[in-house]
Symmetry: D2
Subunit: 448 residues, 4 copies
């Protein structure tokens, strides 16, 4: 007779780790609400944005649906209505409350959602303490997906609440700059180094060849990062730094938003219909450019990376700068995972991209990780051999492979423990409310 326990199968240590990591991620989610009023948690400022309360509930729904309902013996659903209310897009699970109407819901209240979180957390902790042996591995696998899923929503909570607050002419402060500089790792956010604005950065060059890309299956990765596969790259160069506010301002002042020749046809149509004149959150006041940040409304800093630009704007800027955006595999080829450690992620507490440091001698371009998601020229598509997982979690990534572009490297709102060189984020080319920015690339022959 088998007396295998979950601990036998997956190791006591690993199960304990999982519980602790679960606690940590869940706590961080709630810490993001520390400065929010109840009112802030209700508003949906556009269809792409979800109310904070919805994020709090949906991430909990995820664990309830894919973990507790499947694996916790005798689990009794917390509230059958939540099954629909907080299902995002899983048709396999069942119907969904319409995304664009999430802001119409005033109930369950924030307090009720917190109680929901607590209840699910308790059950999950119990499950992790004593996972049924035959499912232990699957439980850990789903748990891990759930935690990465929650980290994605942590970032969305920040970008969504930024958008919500930005709609208010009072420009409420999410977190004061003082608080921001003394949070996280205790270090103040890096203070910007002055560089002449408008200067395009140095370049790193790479030689052509047949290389391997995608995740190798060691450790966690989303399905869309694999399978590992070969691809050929031609020679290319990558800018040493992200494009700065100062450089982008030069583009604006050179009529960048008035010259259709610089834009993709669809981009120009969008710019026209939305009357874009600058990145999202920039405001022109008395001849000066301000931008709305999570610290409130502030003058732009010329040395900080430009942020909240769409693919269309990134692409137009690159054309203006006689360069192009990197392809995602070029970016992946150049990315050194050893540099993740130094990136400006959510843990720094800055909640904004910061200027590149001056320290030199790296073989890898600066700012590859953190600060801003970098738009690539690559439409989001399946890697050769890609096959979505069977079951509801197969709806996680594959079905969105259309009319989106890949972004790489994470942002100042991403968790450091969430990012990988193979990580593929994706948004439609007109999306601007993420912390998205620009790194330039070019074909090698150009620079000779």
């Amino acid at each position: 007779m088998s007396t295998n326990t979950a601990a036998d199968v997956i190791g006591v240590e690993r199960a304990g780790d999982a519980a602790s990591r679960y606690r940590q991620v869940r706590d961080f989610t709630e810490s993001l609400c520390a400065t929010l009023e109840v009112e802030d948690c209700v508003v949906q400022s556009m269809p792409d944005v979800s109310p904070t309360r919805w994020h709090l509930a949906h991430t909990t729904w995820f664990f309830e649906t894919f973990l507790l309902r499947r694996f916790a013996t005798g689990y009794k659903p917390y509230d059958s209505a939540y099954e629909v209310l907080f299902n995002s897009y899983y048709n396999t699970v069942g119907p969904q409350f319409p995304r664009a109407q999430r802001g119409l819901l005033s109930r369950p209240t924030v307090r009720q959602v917190h109680r929901y979180r607590q209840a699910v957390d308790e059950q999950t902790a119990a499950l992790l303490r004593d996972p049924p042996g035959e499912n232990a591995a699957e439980i850990l696998r789903v748990l891990e997906i759930g935690l990465h899923h929650e980290q994605q929503h942590q970032e969305l909570m920040l970008t969504d609440i930024k958008h919500v607050l930005s709609c208010n002419p009072l420009f409420p402060v999410f977190r004061s700059r003082e608080a921001a500089t003394t949070r996280g790792n205790g270090k103040p956010a890096p203070s910007p180094q002055r560089r002449p604005p408008g200067e395009i950065s140095d370049w790193h060059s790479y030689e052509e060849g047949l290389f391997e890309f995608g995740h190798d299956g060691q450790g966690f990765a989303f399905d869309n990062e694999g399978p590992r596969h070969q691809q050929f790259l031609a020679d290319f160069e990558l800018a040493d730094r992200l494009v700065t506010n100062g450089q982008y301002q030069a583009f604006v002042e050179d009529g960048g938003y008035r010259r259709p020749q610089l834009w993709l046809s669809a981009g120009w149509a969008q710019r026209q219909s939305e009357s874009w004149e600058s990145p999202l959150y920039w405001h022109r006041r008395d001849g000066q450019w301000l931008h709305f940040t999570l610290n409130g409304l502030e003058p732009i800093d010329a040395d900080q990376p430009v942020c909240h630009v769409s693919y269309f704007e990134a692409d137009a800027f690159a054309r203006w700068a006689a360069a192009r955006l990197p392809r995602e595999l070029e970016w992946e080829h150049a990315a050194d995972p050893g540099r993740i450690e130094t990136g400006n992620f959510v843990e720094s507490g800055a909640l904004r991209p910061t200027a590149a440091g001056e320290e030199g001698g790296f073989t890898c371009p600066r700012q590859m990780f953190g600060d801003v998601w970098e738009w690539t020229a690559s439409p989001y598509a399946a890697y050769p051999g890609y096959r979505p997982p069977v079951g509801a979690l197969g709806e996680y990534n594959g079905k969105f492979m259309c009319n989106q572009y890949v972004l790489r490297g994470g942002s100042c709102a991403t968790s450091r423990t969430h990012i990988r060189p193979t990580y593929r984020n994706f948004f439609p080319p007109d999306a601007r409310w993420q912390f998205s920015g620009i790194r330039l690339a070019r074909d090698l022959q150009l620079s000779s």
Copy 2:
């Protein structure tokens, strides 16, 4: 030398009355929020609906703008941003935050809005205690407008929150039925009397003649109720009772929503584009009709007046019933102000229309006041000689005289002290979220 004080001019008593009435109306507004969660107060479920918080602030803005800023010596505006945020549509006052975006605002918070109310209330009380003599009469005039304005918003708070809660599949209860029946005057809401559904009511007939209409200037009235003027009415009849749910259900079941011949052309287009199949808030479940009420989701009561129908539906129903809607002057001609006292208004606490009583012998049709606003066949237009007042308050009524229809009599959400026989409410013909219902009329020759 003149030593006239305000008290001299308007009488101590009247100033004291004003202060007391101010307190009463303002308190009632807040009492309407008693059961609301903070979250409920933020949501805007459609452009016509304003968040509760906005109503709380806007009615306060009204007193601040038209009373304190004009008449309180040395008054310092509470917050200059509020001037724009809570201006509804007064172009003369200045710019307005866009109406359809009121639900994007999470700040000021509900608590801050309550503090705003308190501050303005204190200043208003002070002003009323000692009004500058030369402005005393004007202050009282504006105060009265402000109080009637606030009563209008009290009704909107109820209809708006009903719409907000109705969008939630949880169908939250605004006020439990038990609470509802023991509120207000302490009397339980009238229990419905059974009548055979489908039966069209008795008729009251009126003879032709030249009559006077409109407000005569004695006591308060809105500008659009005057001037008093003559008009000729042909013979007509008015139904003794409001159309009931039971009668309306017969219309529904007779294909009322499938027969374009019964509808105005614009009404049919609306019915098609919105897929109307019943009044707003009706739900078909397991072969039974339920409706969402402020007491939650309940089976419809066949004897209660049908409610939440548009002009288009009222008009189609009337055509189906071989009758028509009354003209507003016909209604006014028949209305006996002495019956206001017995109407089902917000003070009853029922928050829903109730079935007509059986007591008889009245010369005036039943249910003329309270229960539901009665759609009339009259487009909302200026009376002969009408001229909007000079200044910002001239924007109150006149500029909306286009593509709206007049409703008469007040509803279960109206204050009894707010209504008059000459009172003209108005909404576009597709509006359904008000407590609006149907009384039939017909030309006299028909009944012979």
Copy 3:
């Protein structure tokens, strides 16, 4: 045995008259296409506009459906598909090809439509030569409606083609001015008399009283013109002339399109969303105002009546001029049918409103008939006792009594034989593509 023939019943003469009048009206329709290219007849420039070809076919469908199918013995429908294609809005008759898609149809061709006209004309002529006795009166009644219906479409053909041509940057000429001035009755179009622009006209005053209104049933009238009924009018005044381009230009230059206080709330919203800055068809070029006419693009003439304004603009202009628009019964009260003869109708060939003559001594204001349809302040509603006819023709007028305003008097595109003092035209308040203009009114007390 009865040997009654149609001629016996209705009189040979009257039947002959009918045939001749039929021929005349039908011919005039075709004469309006004389200068059109086939291509012109296909385009639908907005949902309100129908292609010329569609007008040609629909007016024919009317006679086929309501006359031939009902009364011509053994009549075989010309083409069963036409029943749907050319049904405008008669739900009683059957389904309709969607109005907004009429411009998608390239077949039947213009030539085929002309053949359709010819075939129906022949059958109609035959029917009129020998109408079945028992139906003779009804045939004449329907024929008369059909002819008035066709005259309405003649006017629409002109306003619609004007809109179509106006969308073309080549500004094609419908009819050259030379042709225009030598058409019709052979007289040249009246040459404008110079008057100082900006001067508001003299006034005619009318005393209060109880008067009769609406059509008395003698001769043809549409159902909506009756029944004849009493109504009380207060004292009022009516301007002696239509508002001119010069006067309207003064309004424009005084910021009329920039001052929300002058506008109805819905009007201002429309002006904003459509960016109105002047009447439809006005173009500002090199500091001069031109307008597109059926004679091509020309400088505006300050003395000619302003045209192609919406109700919203007419109403705003009136407010700016410290006046108001007339109510429809005021207009009817003042209108002298004896002046129809001198009006500028389509028969004059001018195809544009012309300046008022200087001849004096009339008791009735000038330009009451012809030139431009005059917006009244009256929402289009049923007269007391109005009841739409039974059957399909009951859909002619009644179902449009919602969100429209009454216009009176006919225009330069109306047939003289089509107009009456009781004639009620109606359009939504934002409609501008009709020949619609402004006459001012005011309450009497104002002028004292």
Copy 4:
């Protein structure tokens, strides 16, 4: 002194060839209008569709703008208004009449456009007879682009007029089937071979490797086909035949349009909002599937390739069939240019895809060229090293590289002389009005 003539530079023969080819292509354009009524040439049935007349004029504008204005000495523009009216999207050339409003233009007439064509043709012929020596090569280069451009519009003329006629409930026939089968090369269109419907075709397999792709610069190609570059392909298989109507019908009947799991998220949203239930032009009548073709409305033929499906439908079908769409480079790798000769192109006169023949023994899959454009899984993006040409013609391709998918192989509406293995057509994933169909692919490991 130089006496070089164009003939010296480019060779008399080549210049003569060019003139003859010009004549041939231009004539073919006009031959496509042979059965059209003037009315057909005016209609724009959706924004993507252009009126026939516009195609006739725009292709002429192309030669006038890029050839005559630049190279014909003393050339006087035909009509300055045409510069704007018939500019499609070349911002470098100047402003454009809005695309979605092309159907509002009734002038210039079809006849005038033909005169425009004739005038430009004469001038072009003259220029080609005696091209200025220094520009001769450039003239031939632009001429070649212009002719390929016109061939593209020939195909659009067919797909656009098909859409226009399809909107008409009369379902007009563009060309009778009899005419279709005896046109072109004189051979009747291939008669379909019967195969069991529902059977998925045989597969051709290809081994992984590093291959070259893109055009090598020998002969004409569009800029987007280059530069020639290396890319690595993993093992894959390609279906021997196109997906047939019969197979697609099995998908429909298996609930293909009701199962969101089969669809991309954006595809499902589109299917929902447009209520797709079958390919464009399919109609269900009395339990049978018909489709609208250029020969009129007909029953579908189970053996013919399915057509008029969007990328979304192609992708969903592939998922249902446990396969995927080919990547464009896989397709290019498998395509044998020697098979172009046997493809079903516009020259066959069939104007519809035809069933695959049964003859065997080919190393290349059947139907790779002609019949239908084959949707690939590849988003339309720049090849490594791609750079749009300088000048207005640089707007030809590059600026559309966003949110579109590549299609390969040409269709029954494409000219045989227009296609190449490297040819990249592109349309948004929801486009259905092109002759677009499906070939399946799969990863090799699957089939083992």
